[in-house]
């Protein structure tokens, strides 16, 4: 009680603290045995179930003799030493406790931290963290009948460096020698170190069989370089490299791939990608993003996943920003390399853009925002209007926010001015426009206690209305540089402008109503279920439109529904639906069901539909089917027979089929894994790439073959490396 009054509390440590125990110097020595004999100051002999311990080291045996003068231990008969996370057993040991030097004859050893074990003719202790082994074996398999064994004439295991090194070594799998080497090294943990990484082999339908031997150079803790020379049977040699650096106020990543002579196309081909971000450079922060390829078909020919093969617009972007009090400044230059179909409708480039925003909060209750922008737009497409656009957009709002309700009136004035270059198809070369925009956002939050499937929960009911008003201004003569129609979604419902970008300001006289209801766990405040509904009412037809998109003329918008729920037992559902009352149809639908019951079992199933653009069933899984077998994969199937061509806006034929398919098997034994993954994805109109990966992994030693994990991780949400090591346990893990 007294302690409580003084405010003392025990703090929970999740791991035993290392600092005290590692220091053995000057620590007392404790002994225990059936009988003790000896000469004080010279030697002591413990006999029968003897044990001697000193901080960091425990020695057990039938008979232990301790020479205090030399700090030396001699142990005989069923000797067992536990120190620095290693357990060594054998018939005889001589060990100096101060320097932890000594030797063991015909011992077996175990490294519980790394799940490794083996035997040796002799073990020498080479200081606190290193042991040297002669004629030794090492495996991570169970000791009785190991499926694979690494053997070496000489081996050094360093638990500080977390590495093993050996000379005159061989690897036996299933009792048969498969590999021998004059020198080898293997990692104990996951620490980064320089050296060759395990070679990979894979096969894709566009490069043929390929073989890569990556070399990793750990230049400094914050800098590394990986080189991956790759031999592709159908295309020749490729040199690849990645250089990464990380400093306290800047970091970067440079990737290069270069094929000097592609044997199929007969020319040199390359890819580069450079990302650099910085902070606090004379007060400025920002980034550089440069990407490029030698030719339009680079990704089609070389990509190993749909992520890169789908790219059509590669940015060359330089941005600098800085904050000065309530001001945020931005200077930017952006160009793009547009390839394949993106050449027909490339995005506008900003060369350059200057932007400033001013945000002042709570000036006598008012929030003030102002945005100023000047951008020179260019487009590498014949006949496109180009020029300078200047925008100023001040807005004032008066937010009244209370726990149970809020009202936010807002008034803004959007002003813009264009100066178009000669040669543009537009007759006017100078255009001005100003549009006042008013909105009123208001909502209520109700709550009630409820119970759901026997659980006590809080249910909320949150109605919200949003009214927007903006007068009509004829904008048909204005060019469209950076503007499009916003998606019809919940966040966009509460936006004054139905366009995104500054080239079109929609005339508006409309009211959005929405209701959200949530179920909340009272103990944690966590949301376990959410349901939302929304619709917009239009009091006038929209007259401002964007070329190629018809102006809206209905009185009520489509209905929007959304639901997210954690159903317990690892199950969750996420759904979104747009329903058109007028046409009685569903223009957009997302449905995702996830089941993660644990034990690495994953099941995802979903549907995505966007009228005339997307229609697909997407399912992925990882499921153990037999004691040692796991099947994993993904099927993403598109059923659409017609789609909108983004460049022309016209409906074109589409072929139903698998966009991305992955099938893999994993055969997992305690100390090795065989993994087989095959993948097929669409790279362009009517073209596919298939890839095939085979990997043989000796747990805790090496992975032979290509790394399919990126593919699995991306395609199977929730997938983790099966041997992902949890955080290393404390050294007292396995303490005796």
């Amino acid at each position: 009680q007294a302690a409580g009054e003084q405010g003392m509390a025990l703090r929970l440590e999740t791991q035993l603290n290392e600092a005290g125990a590692a220091q053995s110097e000057g620590r007392p020595v404790y002994g225990r045995a059936d009988s003790l004999s000896g000469r004080p100051g010279r030697d002591f002999t413990l006999e029968g179930d003897a044990e001697l311990r000193r901080a960091g080291t425990v020695v057990r045996g039938n008979r232990i003799t301790w020479y205090p003068e030399d700090e030396e231990v001699l142990a005989v008969g069923a000797v067992r030493v536990v120190r620095q996370g290693s357990v060594i057993t054998g018939p005889e040991l001589r060990l100096k406790l101060d320097s932890t030097e000594g030797f063991f004859t015909s011992p077996s050893y175990e490294l519980p931290l790394y799940n490794g074990r083996g035997q040796a003719e002799r073990i020498d202790f080479l200081g606190p963290d290193r042991i040297g082994l002669r004629n030794a074996t090492y495996t991570t398999c169970r000791p009785e009948d190991p499926d694979w064994v690494l053997s070496a004439e000489e081996m050094v295991i360093d638990t500080e460096e977390e590495s093993g090194k050996g000379r005159w070594a061989g690897l036996s799998v299933g009792g048969r020698k498969v590999l021998s080497a004059p020198w080898f090294a293997f990692p104990l943990g996951d620490r980064r170190r320089s050296g060759f990484l395990t070679p990979g082999f894979a096969m894709t339908s566009r490069t043929g069989p390929e073989f890569v031997v990556p070399y990793y150079w750990n230049i400094a803790p914050n800098r590394d370089l990986t080189l991956h020379p790759r031999v592709m049977v159908r295309r020749g040699l490729q040199l690849g490299g990645q250089y990464r650096y990380l400093e306290h106020n800047y970091q970067g990543d440079l990737k290069v791939e270069y094929t000097p002579d592609d044997s199929l196309t007969g020319n040199s081909r390359y890819l580069y990608s450079y990302q650099h971000s910085f902070a606090d450079l004379a007060g400025w922060g920002g980034w550089v993003d440069l990407r490029g390829v030698s030719d339009d078909n680079y990704f089609v020919d070389y990509s190993r996943s749909i992520l890169s093969s789908s790219e059509r617009v590669l940015p060359r972007d330089v941005v600098a920003t800085r904050r000065m009090g309530d001001w945020t400044l931005l200077a930017r230059a952006t160009r793009y390399q547009s390839i394949l179909d993106a050449r027909r409708a490339p995005p506008y480039e900003r060369v350059p853009q200057f932007n400033a925003t001013w945000a002042k909060r709570d000036v006598a209750g008012f929030d003030v925002d102002a945005m100023f922008d000047a951008t020179w737009f260019q487009r590498p497409l014949q006949g496109s209007p180009e020029g300078l656009r200047m925008v100023a957009f001040p807005q004032v709002s008066y937010p009244i926010v209370r726990p149970g309700w809020f009202v936010v009136p807002k008034l803004g004035l959007h002003m813009s001015s264009y100066r178009l270059d000669g040669g543009s198809p537009l007759t006017e070369t100078s255009l001005h426009r100003s549009v006042p925009v008013f909105s009123l956002d208001a909502g209520l939050v109700f709550e009630r206690p409820t119970s759901f499937f026997g659980r006590d929960l809080t249910q909320t009911l949150e109605p919200r209305v949003f009214y927007a008003r903006a007068p009509y201004r004829d904008q048909s003569a204005f060019p469209v540089f950076d503007t499009g129609v916003a998606d019809f979604g919940f966040p966009q419902l509460f936006s004054e402008n139905s366009f995104v970008g500054h080239d079109r300001i929609a005339d508006a006289n409309q009211l959005t109503t929405a209701v959200v209801s949530r179920l909340i766990e009272p103990a944690t405040g966590a949301e376990s279920l959410r349901f939302a509904f929304g619709q917009r009412m239009y009091f006038s037809d929209q007259r401002v439109s964007i070329p190629g998109v018809a102006a809206r003329n209905d009185k009520r918008s489509d209905l929007l529904f959304a639901a997210t729920a954690g159903l317990g037992r690892g199950m969750s559902v996420d759904a979104g639906l747009q329903y058109s009352v007028r046409d009685s149809e569903v223009p957009r639908l997302n449905l995702l069901w996830r089941y993660l019951p644990g034990d690495g079992r994953i099941l995802n199933a979903g549907v995505r539909y966007l009228r005339d653009e997307l229609g697909q069933i997407d399912t992925s899984w990882r499921w153990p089917v037999a004691p040692r077998w796991t099947v994993m994969g993904r099927v993403n199937y598109s059923w659409l027979k017609q789609r909108v061509d983004p460049a022309s806006g016209l409906l074109v034929d589409a072929k139903p089929g698998i966009i991305e398919g992955v099938l893999g098997f994993e055969y997992l034994v305690d100390c090795w894994t065989l993994r087989f993954v095959t993948q097929r994805f669409v790279t362009a109109e009517g073209r596919n790439t298939s890839a095939f990966f085979l990997q043989f992994e000796l747990a805790g030693l090496a992975r032979l073959g290509s790394d399919p994990f990126d593919i699995l991780r991306r395609n199977i949400p929730g997938y983790r490396l099966p041997n992902d090591r949890p955080a290393l346990p404390s050294r007292f893990f396995g303490y005796e």
Binding site: I306, S309, S310, R312, V313, R323, D341, A342, A345, P346, P347, D362, D367, P399, V401, R402, P403, G404, W405, L444, V445, F446, E447, R448, T450, T460, L461, F481, D482, G484, A486, G489, P491, Q492, V500, G501, I520, E521, G525, A526, N590, R608, L610, E613, L614, S638, L640, R643, P646, A647, A654, K655, P656, I659, E660, F681, V682, T683, A684, G686
Partner: protein, 143 residues
Amino acid sequence: CGFQLRGSAEMPFRTLYAGFPPGSETGLEFARMMRGNDTRLVARPQDAQARLEVLSEGREKEIVGFSSTGRPREHQLRLLFSFRLVDAGEEELIPPTRLVLHRDITTTDTQYVAKEQEEALLYRDMQRDLVQQLLRRLSAARR
């Protein structure tokens, strides 16, 4: 039907230090939503009865829908936020907790720049939603 207007979201502490990085938009929104709350935000951690520690805040963007020709048509934007709450005696009131929010957005190459601005709109919406969830969790903190 039992619904009542939500009262003041009472937090089990009178003063709070919110450890958002300087200039954080989520931090600004948080400060705005704390107006009218009984718990007061303070500028120095040592003056606060409780401290909100922002462990990480990050954004992710992933392609979730490919067209039948293998072109991206739908992205998912995610806002990832980790925090914990400790009192003045360093005792943990809320252990490290991760909140993940997501919004989907359609995409085409021709609207590359327009979509950039729409993404900003969606991130603002997620920040607002995140702050709501955060306030609920802070109010439910161990008393």
